[in-house]
């Protein structure tokens, strides 16, 4: 009998601690597979955030650094400047990257720091109990927007991919989702692209991945997938927002 779901060598044997139906696990797998397929697992240094992915150092089968909340792009900058020939990536949630770490991500992008950023947008702070994130949708109920997010109190959801695409430094910015097999395949291609860009020395690459948090959304895993597709994608459209210049021309 053929084994159809072998774990990639890019991940350790440690079982994920993520909630049932949480797509952090899928995203981990995509990143790990990309590192293996590109043959750079042994060169990889990953930086994990503070957030539900804080234990990612237990899962990615490469050297890992745990960073302070929001500071992974600065930590990655330090690593990459010391080891320019290693493959350096950060894995960050939307509280980590788009709230407390806004300055670090914008300036790493603006410097065109030659790193790869995997940005997991699940529209809430997962780890701390489902509070509002900068990416929380208007009307979305969270533990800190019990009546739904209102512009008057809490402003608008922040579109990170679009914002960073307006910065001159980045080489590659894309938004993907892991809500269906088709979207997962696309996400996989984008993640791989983001690492290839780094290997080619083209500069900063970020993939925003729309992800589920069934626990804090108060939905079952299938409902969460549907919610992501029906509610999140209209606000956070999928696609490539910035690609290396030569490509744009052809």
């Amino acid at each position: 009998m053929a084994v159809s779901r072998r774990r990639t060598e890019g991940l350790t044997d440690k079982p994920f601690h993520y909630c049932p139906g949480c797509t952090h696990g899928i995203i981990h797998r995509l990143v790990a597979e990309a590192l293996v397929e590109l043959g750079v697992l042994g060169l990889a240094v990953g930086i994990c955030p503070v957030g539900c992915a804080v234990f990612a150092y237990d899962y990615f089968n490469c050297d890992m650094i745990q960073a302070a909340h929001g500071r992974a792009p600065a930590v990655a900058t330090g690593v990459k400047r010391v080891l320019p020939d290693r493959v350096v990536f950060t894995y960050q949630g939307d509280g980590d990257l788009a709230a407390i770490g806004t300055a670090e991500i914008i300036h790493a992008a603006s410097r065109g720091e030659n790193i790869t950023v995997i940005f997991v947008n699940n529209a809430v702070f997962g780890m701390t109990g489902g509070q509002m994130a900068p990416t929380t949708l208007l009307g979305q109920k969270t533990t800190t927007t019990p009546f739904g997010r209102r512009v008057a109190d809490a402003g608008f959801p922040l579109r990170v991919a679009e914002m960073l695409a307006a910065v001159e430094g980045p080489a590659y910015i894309a938004r993907v989702a892991v809500s269906s097999p088709k979207n997962i395949l696309r996400a996989k291609r984008a993640v791989r692209r983001a690492f290839e860009i780094q290997l080619q020395g083209l500069g900063f690459a970020l993939v925003e991945v729309l992800s589920t948090c069934p626990t804090n959304w108060g939905l079952s895993p299938p409902e969460a997938m549907r919610w992501l597709e029906e509610k999140m994608i209209p606000v956070f459209p999928l696609g490539e927002f910035k690609v290396p210049e030569e490509e744009e021309q052809c």
């Binding site: 990889a44 890992m64 600065a74 900058t77 330090g78 400047r81 010391v82 300055a103 300036h107």
Partner: protein, 353 residues
């Protein structure tokens, strides 16, 4: 050996380069800006990296990353910037990474001013960031000593895998003094098998981390850290003694203030008062050894600082009430003078006599 004239802030940079540091991350702030100015030119000359970060928060986290990657790395700032770095410094201590932080202290609290001060003694010696950790803290008092102690700072950081802070103030940072640099040292830097450099060529993964979710596990780590701090306390206390042998009135001062106190000791001696000086070179671990030894002969102690009295607590702790400990200090960035210190010492001596 030829001497060259060098400014204090530049000496912090040159001392670092000579200690094998090739990575600097920092954010401008007065009165330390000549240090990054110097390194922005010097680092490219030696194949190093100078990077101006977007904030002190980013700078200290770049230091964290570069240290994790195995480099000798530093940052520099002044009081408000050092306050911003505290979370990162705590992470560096928790993850046991070697790094050097220069702090050219200025008047506080708040924005305070840019005048020379020692008002961050508590912050640098007692913690600053969260958690049960310690920094190694060095306090040079001349431009030559800046060069010498920067080498010590990087060695100690590597030896203990611990952040080391080197403190000065705006006067020390901006004064020009002759220094002997000698030839560029030929350094063999220690191997760092723990560094996160990619697993290629290694069988195990390296992880840099300060998270231990199980309390018992974290307690074990903390006990190991405490054992390390005890070893520091045993092996790394440094100080200078001046006319201490027969001193009945012992002054204590560090950094620039120690130079003023030294001159005051001479004045006091000239007036027939048997004064002496202990100059702590390490602020942590605090050199209590000369304090307790001096107490055998001394009738009183006078701690002189450019703050409202911070190191004085460590002196009192060392003496456990055996001898009276007096304090004289100026705050707000006001420089104390030889005349003021001499006056304060004479008043104490008159009461003793």
């Amino acid at each position: 050996m030829d001497k060259v004239l060098m400014e204090g802030n530049a000496a912090f940079g040159e001392g670092a380069v000579r200690a094998g540091c090739r990575f600097f991350f920092g954010y401008p702030i007065t009165p330390q800006s000549e240090l990054p100015h110097y390194l922005a030119r010097r680092m490219p000359e030696v194949g190093g990296v100078y990077l101006q970060a977007e904030s002190e928060v980013a700078a200290i986290n770049m230091v964290y990353g570069a240290a994790a990657a195995g480099a000798r790395v530093m940052t520099a700032s002044s009081s408000p910037g050092i306050s911003l770095m505290q979370e990162g410094i705590s992470y560096i201590a928790g993850a046991e990474l070697p790094a050097v932080i220069v702090n050219i202290m200025r008047g506080g609290p708040g924005l305070g001013n840019i005048a020379p001060s020692q008002s961050d003694y508590f912050q640098v010696v007692k913690g600053g960031g969260h958690g049960d950790y310690r920094l190694l803290v060095l306090a040079p008092s001349s431009v030559q000593e800046i060069i010498d102690l920067m080498a010590v700072a990087f060695e100690l950081a590597d030896k203990y895998r611990n952040p080391t802070m080197v403190v000065g103030d705006g006067v020390l940072g901006q004064m020009m003094e002759p220094v002997e640099l000698g030839p560029m040292p030929d350094l063999v830097l220690p191997a760092k098998a723990w560094a996160t450099t990619g697993t290629a060529g290694r069988n195990t993964r390296n992880i840099v981390n300060s998270l231990y979710i199980q309390p018992e596990e974290l307690e074990k780590v903390n006990l190991r850290l405490q054992a390390k701090y005890s070893q520091m306390a045993k092996e790394e206390k440094r100080w200078e003694e001046y006319r201490l042998d027969d001193a009945a009135l012992v002054l204590l001062a560090f950094g620039m203030v120690a130079r003023i106190a030294k001159a005051a000791v001479d004045k006091l001696r000239a007036a027939g008062i048997p004064a002496g000086l202990i100059r702590p070179i390490t602020l942590y671990p605090f050199p209590d050894i000369p304090v307790t030894q001096a107490a055998e002969r001394a009738k009183a102690f006078l701690v002189v600082e450019m703050n409202a009295g911070q190191m004085v607590e460590d002196v009192r702790l060392a003496l456990c009430g055996q001898r009276p400990v007096h304090f004289y200090g100026r705050t707000g960035g006001v420089l104390t003078s030889v005349a003021e210190v001499t006056g304060a010492a004479k008043e104490i001596w008159e009461v003793i006599e």
